[in-house]
Amino acid sequence: MATEIVVKDLTKRYPNGFEAVKQLSLEIGEAELLVLVGPSGCGKTTALRMIAGLEDISSGDLYIGGKRMNDVPEKDRDIAMVFQNYALYPHMTVAQNIGFSLKLAKTPKKEIKERVRRTAELLAIEQLLDRRPKQLSGGQRQRVAMGRAVIREPQVFLMDEPLSNLDAQLRVHMRGEIEALQKRLGVTTVYVTHDQVEAMTMGDRVAVLRDGVLQQVDSPTQIYDRPANLFVAGFMGSPPMNLAQATIDRQDGGFSVGFGEQRVAVPSELAQERRLEQWVGKPVIAGIRPEDLEGSADGGSELGGEVVRIEELGAELLVYFAVDAPGPKGQPVAAAVTGEELEHAPVTGATGSIFCATFEPRTQVKIGDRVETRVDARRLHFFDPETDEAL
């Protein structure tokens, strides 16, 4: 029977007054996998540790399975946790590591052996049971750490960036495995990561945190398609959403959004939904994801500019070009949004912004060329420059 976790106004305040988590409220459904995502230092791990009982809760309430857990010691919360660096006991064999919690619970030896065997089978590590952690590869250690959590059959799994120490290929593989395992066991899970790809691919729902404040909780698709604010828009997606200061104008009975001199017509349906008539003549921040900005083959164009950088990814070609409109805060998108440079942060031009567009692979483009793109205008995003909230 799976368990529901309810977090209400959860706050972590340190003695020096710093608040790592601010009034976090979440409801995590039975057997759900909720991903807590955000840049480093956003409070996601602290939130997880409060649920685990490794950190005291400064204020707010934590309910697991309907029971208030604030003052319940961690060993009575029936939670298993997977740590970022696995934290395997170095002096114990794999079998002893996995069976340790059962041994502490005074489970009969025979039962421990049987359950360790079954758990090892589940994780395909039967042949490693007699080894010590030192003799294991990163991926194998990861599995042992999972095994240690799984064997307990706990009410809740907590995972603190369990894949961040693995190399890229293994990470993709384990992502699938953990997700499949969680679905199979049907255990309510909170998964912390700073990797938005992990969040998108693994979560039933995703909660985005920034500076200890919850920004948005929703399904991955909804978060991606309808980010609640500028931060979420910039954080989720790689390469990040193109964002720039823009103006809304009336055009041909409808509305258009202007990036500098270039204007893109906004479909009337979208304009209505976002109430663009209230924003006519006012500055907004407009965004469009790279995949909604396609290289135009026939020369027809809505947005164009001089190419400053090219990334050939094989399946597609990313072209970064200069647009004559200031960035959302007069900074590169990634820096403005997250306060840090992301891996794919577009290089910034002297003035204006750099937009990223997807082109057909092996299109002949050179740095310095002028490129033209078509905008999938139904997928434009608009944000209030004052509040950063989505329109």
């Binding site: 490794l54 961690e74 060993k75 946790m81 395997l88």
Partner: protein, 293 residues
């Protein structure tokens, strides 16, 4: 070192030659200097050794440097007869005191670094303070106290005093070592639902071997070599440890140097053996503590 494969052949040999010449000329000089120091350090040991195998007629200090004309182990015999009861006492003292010190140190280190309590740092600083109190300062109060509480006389008294005096250094050794153990391990144990004692027993203690070796060598050596506590805490001569017995081999009129030298060697053998057997771990353990914490 040298990566001359890619270098032009005309230049490389010269480079190579100068480098080799410098290495060759520097090495003997280094060794000569080091050898000189070694001789200075080892001279007393030489005198100790040769005197211990000389007969009584040969021990004139003016010939201390010369090799024995007649090799004899009489002095060793005599030293063994005189010292063996007190050697036994020393073992009875040093072994239990070392074991108790290590256990106490390990427990202290654990609560001072891994299972911390409010004020742990203050308590630790207070512990360390104890390291700087000289034996002489506590001689009289300690004796009076032990008398007042009717602490069993003899070796138990000495064991007690050494265990108490060992608390600061062993706490320091174990605390520093434990702070190199990642805290995640402690948290993993908490999530596996281990309490304080079981975390210590199943997780921390099995990882403590290096610290135990360091603390044991340290305590064994200093307890074995202690003279002062033994003199003022033990009044019964039959209970004296070897350091006191060694002191008493000094004759009142003539000094039997050969007996003294062999007795001194005999008295220091156990600590030497401990160090030779476990010295590797000693260095490693000290390093482990030094790297972090």
């Amino acid at each position: 070192m040298s990566t001359t494969t890619a270098a032009p052949p005309a230049v490389a040999p010269i480079d190579e030659r100068t480098r080799r010449r410098r290495r060759v000329s520097a090495t003997p000089l280094k060794y000569i200097v080091l050898l000189g120091f070694a001789v200075i350090v080892l001279t007393p040991v030489y005198v100790l050794l040769v005197t211990s195998v000389k007969g009584f007629s040969e021990i004139d200090p003016s010939h201390a440097w010369s090799l024995p004309q007649v090799f004899t182990i009489d002095a060793w015999h005599q030293a063994w007869t005189q010292l063996s009861p007190s050697l036994k006492n020393s073992f009875k003292l040093a072994i239990p005191a070392t074991i108790l010190s290590c256990i106490l140190g390990s427990l202290n280190g654990f609560v001072l670094s891994k299972w911390r309590f409010p004020g742990a740092d203050f308590v630790f600083a207070f512990f360390l303070f104890g390291m700087f109190i000289p034996y002489q300062a506590v001689m009289i109060p300690l004796t009076l106290l032990l008398d007042d509480i009717h602490f069993p006389a003899g070796i138990p008294r000495l064991v007690f005093a050494h265990v108490v005096y060992g608390i600061p250094i062993t706490a320091l050794i174990f605390r520093n070592y434990y702070s190199t153990i990642p805290n995640d391990l402690m948290e993993a144990a908490r999530m596996d639902r281990a309490g304080m004692l079981r975390t210590y027993w199943y997780v921390i203690l099995p990882l403590s071997a290096p610290a135990f070796v360091v603390a044991a060598i340290w305590q064994f050596t200093s307890i074995w070599n202690d003279f002062l506590f033994a003199v003022f805490l033990i009044t019964d001569p039959s209970k004296w440890p070897v350091t006191v017995a060694l002191n008493n081999t000094a004759g009142s009129l003539v000094t039997p140097f050969n007996l003294q030298m062999s007795a001194a060697l005999l008295a220091s053998l156990p600590t030497l053996i401990v160090y030779i057997l476990a010295g590797r771990y000693f260095m490693r353990g000290l390093m482990a503590g030094a790297l972090k914490g």
